[in-house]
């Protein structure tokens, strides 16, 4: 195409070609002809393997081959790095308390971990103890029942085994009988009896009727009623044929022996509904068999023989082909060898009943043997409950809800005695109730009566004592001080004469001038009264006159404050009173706040400039530093003379202690103390306290080697007035 199209026409063309149905917006670009996106089959060699970040991971052999991890390393930028080498000579790995246990997961990559996660399934650890069963019942467990049925031994089985029970045995005392060795003839002839464990009794499993067919309907079974009846009556049945009939046939199927093996066979029997050519899974059944099947053992003995667990006491005998004489079998049948479900033979004179066959039912239908007639006036002693239950069921909770009785009414119904107690509200004060109403938002609370329990009722005197206990106790001194201050004018509550009088009374009581507090005014409440007393207490604590310096300093300031503030008393103090007692302030800070700069705000302390500092400032070290220097020099220069006079000042007390402790001759110590006294007994206490025998690390030993002159010692020790010459 030689003509160059404009971009707009090109795009229009493109849109028309690729997406003719796009009305709004921009059509997606046409598919890349290189890429097949139609989901068609792409051969393996054309597929590209990309990792989760879209990177190609498999290359041709010449372009790097397989690449994995972080730029063809394993996992990290550094690749695989061995763990730090630890010599096992001193540091045994296995002895380490938290020795690293390497798990398989440590060597897995993400995919492996994902697979591992997938392979995990929820399952029960051990089977649950559901309906107990022994091992032969386990085979029945399947599906969900496996969840509830224990696999293996139940606790009961374990217990039984401990008591000597073995599998296959029955439970109960041992039975003396002759050994059944299956070779009936020989064993019976011997007549020897042994103690055997009782035969196992199979569990009765009552088959539940789950279908909607009629009772006794055996539709799925073969049409063998005639043959069945004939066979049931005949003595030509083998043992297991007999059992089969018991299971699935007409012969009283109301209960069956719980042998799983037989149930499987039951289903095999095809009934009417199954076509002749339908494969019923069994090959040995001849579909074209007509008429009563004459079944016979195709194999002599062995497998086809009925497995009688109760009999097979010796398992080794089972496998052997055993000849069974027809005679004995017949004899068994003749004896009615069917046993009751507990493994015993029916009682003497009784035979196992069979459900009436069609013949007898036919007889019954003719009314030959009608059932006994119920007497007309007979009435059952059982009263059917259906009348009472016919009403709609109401649960107890619903019934309780529907009840309109309150506890008192119920108590009355039940005849309970009314409780002597009262409601909480009876003891509540009105104010407390108001608070409760405000908190709960319920206005219909019972009225507060403010009663006092009988045991707690106070006499007037007790109440007064109780009240006085809550009065804060001011110290006697403080009370007197506050009183005296109040007498000097400037007492609080200058604007309220009554209050002032009360305050004075309180103070007098606290000071011990009066035996009792002034009585509470009748119109004020107890709370107000106590509040006022507390206010007095705080006020008295604050208004006590200051001592010494502070007093002299503050006489004017308080009056100034009085004058500058308003007319009603001293609001400043009042504010203080209402506040919690303020923490004691530094008087210096207080003075500074009031502008009382001077001696009040000034404190002088010792300061120990280091020698180098003094040197750099080009000043002589102050006295306290010089002492330190001397002690240091004494320590360095005369260590052999511990009681040098130089050291007296610094370590007078420790030296005495030392003398006591070591028993240094008293003369030496006396002399030294005398020395000290003569040198100067009245060192300034400040200097003495300051002289801690501490070594200054910044001291230059070379500078201090020079011994200080005598005037220095004089300056320290010899400047007393009395010793001054």
């Amino acid at each position: 195409m030689s003509i160059k199209r404009s971009r707009a026409t090109y795009e229009a063309d493109l849109a028309a070609q690729q997406s003719p149905y796009v009305v709004f917006g921009t059509a997606l670009p046409p598919l890349d002809p290189e890429v097949r996106d139609d989901g068609s089959y792409v051969p393996v060699w054309k597929q590209e393997v990309r990792d989760e970040r879209g990177r190609k991971r498999l290359h041709g052999a010449f372009t790097g081959g397989f690449s994995a991890g972080y730029f063809n390393t394993v996992g990290s930028k550094e690749g695989w790095t061995p763990s730090t080498f630890v010599s096992s000579r001193t540091n045994r790995r296995k002895d380490a308390p938290n020795a690293e246990q390497q798990r398989p997961e440590d060597f897995m990559d993400e995919e492996d971990l994902a697979e591992l996660e997938e392979s995990r399934k929820i399952q029960t650890n051990a089977a649950f103890a559901g309906p107990g069963s022994t091992e032969d019942a386990v085979s029945q467990a399947s599906g969900l029942m496996g969840l509830f049925r224990i696999e293996g031994e139940t606790m009961g089985a374990k217990l039984l085994k401990k008591m000597g029970w073995r599998e296959g045995q029955g439970i109960g005392p041992k039975v003396r009988r002759s050994a059944r060795l299956e070779l009936q003839g020989s064993a019976a002839e011997k007549g020897d009896t042994f103690l055997f464990a009782p035969d196992n009794v199979p569990m009765i499993s009552l088959t539940r009727k789950t279908d909607h067919r009629g009772l006794g309907y055996g539709g799925q079974s073969r049409l063998t009623s005639i043959g069945h009846s004939t066979r049931g009556g005949s003595a030509a049945n083998s043992d297991d044929e007999d059992d089969e009939e018991n299971m699935g046939g007409f012969g009283r199927p109301s209960f069956s022996l719980a042998m799983g093996r037989k149930k499987g066979k039951d289903t095999n029997k095809s009934g009417i509904g199954i076509g002749i050519l339908n494969d019923t899974r069994s090959d040995d059944e001849d579909p074209y068999e007509i008429g009563p099947r004459i079944s016979y053992n195709k194999v002599i003995g062995g497998d086809r023989k009925k497995k009688k667990a109760s009999i097979a006491t010796n398992p080794s005998l089972k496998t052997k082909p055993v000849f069974r004489s027809k005679k004995s079998v017949l004899g068994k049948v003749a004896l009615g060898v069917r046993r009751c479900h507990d493994g015993r033979l029916p009682l003497d004179g009784f035979v196992f009943g069979k459900e009436a066959d069609s013949l007898t039912s036919e007889v019954n239908s003719q009314g030959k043997y009608p059932p006994p007639r119920i007497p007309p006036d007979w009435k059952s002693s059982k009263i059917p409950k259906s009348q009472t239950d016919s009403k709609e069921y109401v649960s107890t909770a619903d019934a309780a809800k529907a009840s309109t009785l309150n506890p008192k009414a119920r108590a009355a119904l039940l005849g309970e005695k009314e409780l002597p107690g009262k409601s909480v509200f009876d003891f509540m004060s009105a104010a407390a109730r108001e608070r409760l109403v405000a908190a709960t938002g319920k206005a219909d609370l019972p009225a507060a009566r403010g009663e006092i329990p009988a045991g707690y009722a106070l006499t007037e005197a007790e109440r007064l004592r109780e009240l006085h206990k809550q009065v804060p106790m001011l110290g006697k001194d403080a009370a007197i001080a506050a009183l005296s201050r109040g007498a000097g004018g400037g007492a609080p509550y200058a604007d309220d004469e009554d209050k002032r009088a009360r305050y004075r009374a309180y103070l007098e009581y606290q000071a011990g001038f009066k035996p009792a507090l002034p009585p509470k005014p009748a119109q004020t409440s107890t709370e107000d009264w106590l509040r006022e007393i507390n206010e007095f207490f705080n006020c008295a604590r604050i208004f006590k006159p200051m001592t010494g310096l502070m007093a002299s300093r503050f006489t004017t300031s308080s009056s100034a404050l009085n004058s500058t503030t308003s007319t009603r008393g001293e609001p400043g103090e009042r504010d203080l009173v209402t506040k919690p007692p303020p923490k004691r302030e530094d008087p210096a800070e207080e003075a500074a706040r009031l502008g009382m700069f001077g001696s009040m705000t000034r404190t002088v302390a010792e300061f120990h400039p280091t020698r180098l500092l003094c040197k750099r400032f080009n000043v002589k070290p102050p006295a306290n530093v010089q002492t330190e220097e001397n002690t240091g020099r004494a320590r360095t220069s005369a260590p052999t003379a511990p009681f040098d006079a130089d050291e007296e000042g610094s370590s007078a007390v420790p030296r005495d202690l030392l003398a006591l402790e070591f028993g240094v001759s008293s003369s030496a110590s006396d002399g030294s103390t005398k020395d000290m006294n003569s040198l100067g007994g009245n060192m300034s206490p400040a200097v003495q306290t300051a002289e801690k025998p501490s070594i200054d690390s910044s001291k230059n030993e070379a500078l201090e080697a020079m011994r200080a002159g005598d005037d220095v010692f004089k300056a320290i020790f010899g400047d007393s007035d009395d010793d001054d010459e």
Binding site: D586, A588, E589, A591, A592, R593, G595, F597, G598, S599, T601, R602, T603, V604, A605, E606, F607, H608, P609, T610, L612, L613, C614, R616, F617, N618, V619, K620, P621, P622, A623, N624, V625, S698
Partner: protein, 366 residues
Amino acid sequence: MSKDSRFPQKPVAQLLGSNGPIHAVSYSASPGTYILTGSADRSIRLYNPSPSSSTNTTTTTTTSSITTPNNNHRQSPPANSSKPTLRTAGGDRAVFLWDVVTAQTTRRFGATANGHSGRVNCVAFGGADDSLVISGGLDTTVRVWDARASGGGGSKPIQVLGEAKDAVTALAVSGAEIVAASVDGRVRSYDVRTGRAVTDVFPASVTSLCLARDAKTVLVGSLDSKIRLMDRANGACLRTYTHDEWRNAELRVQSVLGGRERFVVAGDEMTSSSASAVGGDIGAEGDNNNEGRVWAWDLLTGRLVARLAVPWGVMRDGRRRVVVGRDGKEKERKNVVSCLAWKEGGSGNQFCVGGTSGVVTVFGEG
């Protein structure tokens, strides 16, 4: 009015170049030719404020710009008269000794285990021959360093004065006395000669100290909006300088004695609401909001002598610096005049002020 006229209230020069607030200004030692500024942009600048041309606003000579690793400069005057050295203190817990000519640090004090454990607020030279460097910092200590000791002197202070209960904000040295002011409202005078430490209590945190020449009085600025002239002998307050509209309750605002100790000059932290409303009466035009102000009182009478407006600095391109906050709006800026210095230790005829505007304004006569 004669006094008023003598008070240097004409802005003669503006020293530009800083990219952040000025934290410290100082004149060089007598005759005070140069002005050193320590700025929040971690550099110290040396200016010659004398105008080289007739225009007196933007003519400055930046002789040297010294950049240090400090992130927050508190630089104090190079009181060293003989050698051109200065020392700086900064937020990196170290004190530096500089050689001005080469703009190199010659010594470093602290920044070791024995140094300040907090920001250094103030430094001072001291001792005979200025052989000591004294620094006070946020770690509540005053540390005395030996500038003369070779080698290990920088790692270990000669003495640590740890009496302060809160950060040490200002230092003054006179003779053998070290005066340290602290946030705990105390001014402690350590007399090395007598070995006594005198503590004076003030009702609020003390942020500024200025010793008089004779060291008998000290000017103490505290955060209760008052400047007090204290008698050092007995701790009495000789005079209190305050004004209804002058407030100093939050920031460190320096106050100095100046004009041969006739004036008390202080900056303004511009927190009072009326800061911009008033100001036209005494020398200040007040046209620009939040313009910085300098207050001056008469030392003896305590009367307000002057209230000067400190104009916003004009940048090289002629525009004001605009600080844009995080919300994108222009931040309201206040020119807090936090530091000032009087030429020749209070005896000259000039003083310079610096503040958050980043511009140092030199006021002179004429």
